[in-house]
Symmetry: C2
Subunit: 489 residues, 2 copies
Amino acid sequence: MDGLVPRPVRVDPAPGVCELDDLVVPVVVDPAAGLPAEGYRIRIAPSGVHAVAADEAGKQHAEQTLRQLAGPETFRAANIHSGRWVLPCGEIVDHPRFAWRGCLLDVARHFQPKAAVLRFIDLLAAHKLNVLHLHLTDDQGWRIEVPEYPRLTEVGGWREGSWVGRPPDGTEEHDGRPHGGYYTTGDLREIVAYARERAVTVVPEVDIPGHSQAAIAAYPELGNTGAALPVRTAWGISEHVLNAEESTVAFYRRVFEHLVDIFDGPVIAVGGDEVPTVEWREHAAARAAELGLSSPDDLHGWWIAQIAGHVAGLGRRPLAWDEAVDAGPLPPDTIVASWRGEHGGIAAAQAGHDVVMCPEQHVYLDHRQSDRPDEPIPVGYLVPLRKVYQYEPIPDGMPETVRERVLGAQAQVWTEHLDNPRRVDYAAFPRLAAFAEVVWSPPEREYDEFERRLVRHHLPRLDALGVEYRPLEGPRPWQTRPGVPGRPR
Amino acid sequence: MDGLVPRPVRVDPAPGVCELDDLVVPVVVDPAAGLPAEGYRIRIAPSGVHAVAADEAGKQHAEQTLRQLAGPETFRAANIHSGRWVLPCGEIVDHPRFAWRGCLLDVARHFQPKAAVLRFIDLLAAHKLNVLHLHLTDDQGWRIEVPEYPRLTEVGGWREGSWVGRPPDGTEEHDGRPHGGYYTTGDLREIVAYARERAVTVVPEVDIPGHSQAAIAAYPELGNTGAALPVRTAWGISEHVLNAEESTVAFYRRVFEHLVDIFDGPVIAVGGDEVPTVEWREHAAARAAELGLSSPDDLHGWWIAQIAGHVAGLGRRPLAWDEAVDAGPLPPDTIVASWRGEHGGIAAAQAGHDVVMCPEQHVYLDHRQSDRPDEPIPVGYLVPLRKVYQYEPIPDGMPETVRERVLGAQAQVWTEHLDNPRRVDYAAFPRLAAFAEVVWSPPEREYDEFERRLVRHHLPRLDALGVEYRPLEGPRPWQTRPGVPGRPR
C-alpha cells in the first residue's frame, strides 16, 4: 500500500492479502458517508473489499487506487495476468487537497490527433488529475471546426512548415513540412464525453486578442492591416492581433457560443496573454478613442472584457491568463491563471478572483528537464522532476485571507517542440506524476521518498501504459534531438 | 442495410425499424446453427434483434455489423448520441470468403508506438480483417525485446537518422533525427491478448537471413565481416546478411523460441525475402561447401530451412516470402506469401504449399494512391482505390486444382515513408476498406457502387473513428510532402 501515486491522505496497512478472481470491485457512491468531495474509502480484508465514495469522481479515484494496488499489469489495454489478483489488506481514506488539478495540452502548435487526446485523458485520470485545459487556437494553427466560418480550419488549420527548435528570432526558414489538423464538432463532443466518464473536465481555450494569426490568415478582416498573412511557421509571439471592430467582436462571440454549445463544463478560457500593441498603436488609435479608452494599449483589456463578459452572459465562468488582471476590469467570476510567476495569482486573489496557479518557473513541462547536453531542444527554465515535486501551489507571499481563492494548479504542456505524441510523453512524464501528487496529496512531502516510490512502483505502471517517459538517468538515444537549437533561460 | 462495408453475403431488407434504448445486443454463439466458420445471422424486427454466430469470431463480426447499422457515432470512443438507437429491419446472413484476411504493419522502418498498434487492431476488426502481420525486424530497426540479447534493442532498436523520401541509392545524408523504440515482452503479450479479444490473430515476423543489419549492428558476430555496422539509415536492401555459422543459427533459434512463447497464434513468419549473396560469395564459400551446398547462394534456402524447420518443430506453421520457394526446400506446412506478383503464389501452391496473396502491384498500401503531383512521397506502383477494390486474390493463371491452397490475401503497409501513425492512416485508408471487401465479400463487385457506398456510409465511420484517411479528391494540404523525393515505378 506504500506504492500509490499520488499518495493518499491516510493509509493503514494490515496483515494479509485479499485474493480475487477478477478485479471488478463495486464502489458504492454514498454522499452520506461523510467523505469530502471526490473522496473515497477502501477497506481490504482477506474476506473481501469494501469501497465507498462521496460522488462519481470519488468512485473513479477509488477504482484507480484499486488498479494501482493490484499491480502494473492492470494498466494494460488487455489482460495478460494469469491467476488470481492479490490486494494487500488495510484501509485507505483519501480525498484531494485541491479541486482544480489540471494540465494544459497545446494542440495548436502541434496538432494532437484525437486518439492522442483521448489517451492523454486516460493518463490524467490514472493520476487523479481532473482538468484538461485544451489550448485550441494560436498563431500557428486553429484546431476547432466552426461551421459558420469554414476558413478557420480550411486555411487556419494548417501551416506550410515549422521552425525546428528555437532558432534566432526573425529566422525565415522552416522545415517545409506542412502541418495541420483540426477537431470536428463531433470529435470535440466525444472528447468531452470521454473525459466526463473519467471525471475529467475539459476547459477549452480560444486565445484572444493575441495569438490569433491563424484566424487572421483565414479571415484577414479580423486583423488590423487587411493584409493577407500566412499561418505562422515560427514560434514566439506574433504582432498580428485582432482589430477592435464590432464585426470582429461579433465574430468571436459566435465562436464562443459554439464553444459553449460543445463544452459543457463550467469554465471557458479566453486567453488574453502576450498581446503586442504595436499594430493597435498604428491602426486603432481612433477606434480606441471612440471606445473611450485613453490609449490603444487599453484595447487589450477591452477585448478580454468583451469576450469574458459574453462568456459570463452565457452562464459560464471565463478563465484568463494573468495579463488580464493588469489589462483591465474582469467579470468578477473570472478565474485567473497565474503563469508568469506567482505575483499575478496573488494580485488576482487580492482583487477577488479565484486563481489557478501555473507558474512557468515550476510547472511548464515543455521546459527542459535537465542541464544535460543531450536534453532534447532545451527551452525555458530548468524544471527537473525534483522541482516539480517540490512546487507548492499556495505562494508564500499570498496573504492568509485570500488563500482560499487558490482553486488549485495546472501543469502546462506547450507543444512548439513536441511535434508528436511520443515527444509529449517524454516532456510530460514522469513530471506529471510528481505534479499530480502536488495537487492531490497533503502538502508534507519529501522528494527522495517520492523518487524511490516512483522508480519502484510507478514507472512500471507507466511502462504498462506505454508511456514513453523520460528515464530518470536521461533520455534514451532516440529521445535526443542532436543539433536542434533550444533556448534555455 | 445497403451501407455495410464489407458487403455481406446476403441482405434482405424489410419494412420498419427497431428502436433500442441501448445498443447492447446479445449475439448467441451456436455452433449448431448451420453457419460457416466466422459466420453470423442477424434478424431485426420492430420487436427486437436476434443474432446468432457460428463462433466467437462470428460474434465479433455480428457486433461490428450492428455497429455499422446503428450509425457512424457508434464508432466513437464515448457516446455522443442522444435518444434511442434505430436499426433498420431485415435479415443479414454473412460469412467471409477467405479465412486469411490480413494486413502487414511494418513497425521496423518506423516504430509504431503500442497505442498506435492497438488502435490499428481496432481498425482491422472494424473491417472484419482477422490477421495482423507485424514486421518486427529489419535493417533499420529491431523492435522486440529478447531478454537474453539486450543489445538487440539497446543498439538495434534505434538509428541515428532516416532518409527523407527516396533519394538516389548511395545517398549518405539523412535527417539526423534519431528514431527508435521497441516493444517489451509484456507489450507484445498485451498486443496479442488485445487482438485475440477482437478476433484478430497476430503473425509476428523476424526477417532472416537478409534485412538483418540492425541485428548485426547489435551483435557483429552475426555478420559476415565482423565489422561494426550502424543500424541502417537509408531505405532499400542492405547487403549485410547473417553469416551461416552454427552459433548464429543457435542465436536465432532462441529468438524464435521467444517469439513462440509470446505469440500464441498458429503462424510465425521467418521472412526470407530480398537476400543479397555478395557477402556470402566473398566470406562463406568454405562454409557453404562444408554444408554440402553447391554455391554460397544456396545459403539463402539453407537459412530459411534451418529456421522454418525449427518453427515447425516448435509446433507452429512457418510463413515465408515467395523467394523461399525458389531458394530451397521448405517444411511442407510452410505458408508462402506471394508478394513479388502472383507467380510465386502459383508455384508455391503447385508445390503443395498454402498461400497468402499479397502482390505488390495490387495491395501495397505504401505505394502511391494517384499520379497527382501533390501525392506525398510517391513510391512503387500506382495503386489507386479502384485498383485495390478490383483485386482478385485467386490468380487467373492458377490451376483449378490448387486454388484451395489460397488461404486469402493481405494488404501491406510498409513504413519507410510513413513516419508516424497519421501517415499510416493516410496510406492505409480508405484502401484498406476496399481490401476488406475483396477478402470478405463474394467475388462479384462493382467499383462505382462501392465508391458511392464508401462516400455515403463508410467515410463517416472513418471520420468518427478519427482515421485521417486520404480524401478521394486528393490529399489535404497538410497531408502533402512538397519537395520530398519519391520513386514511382
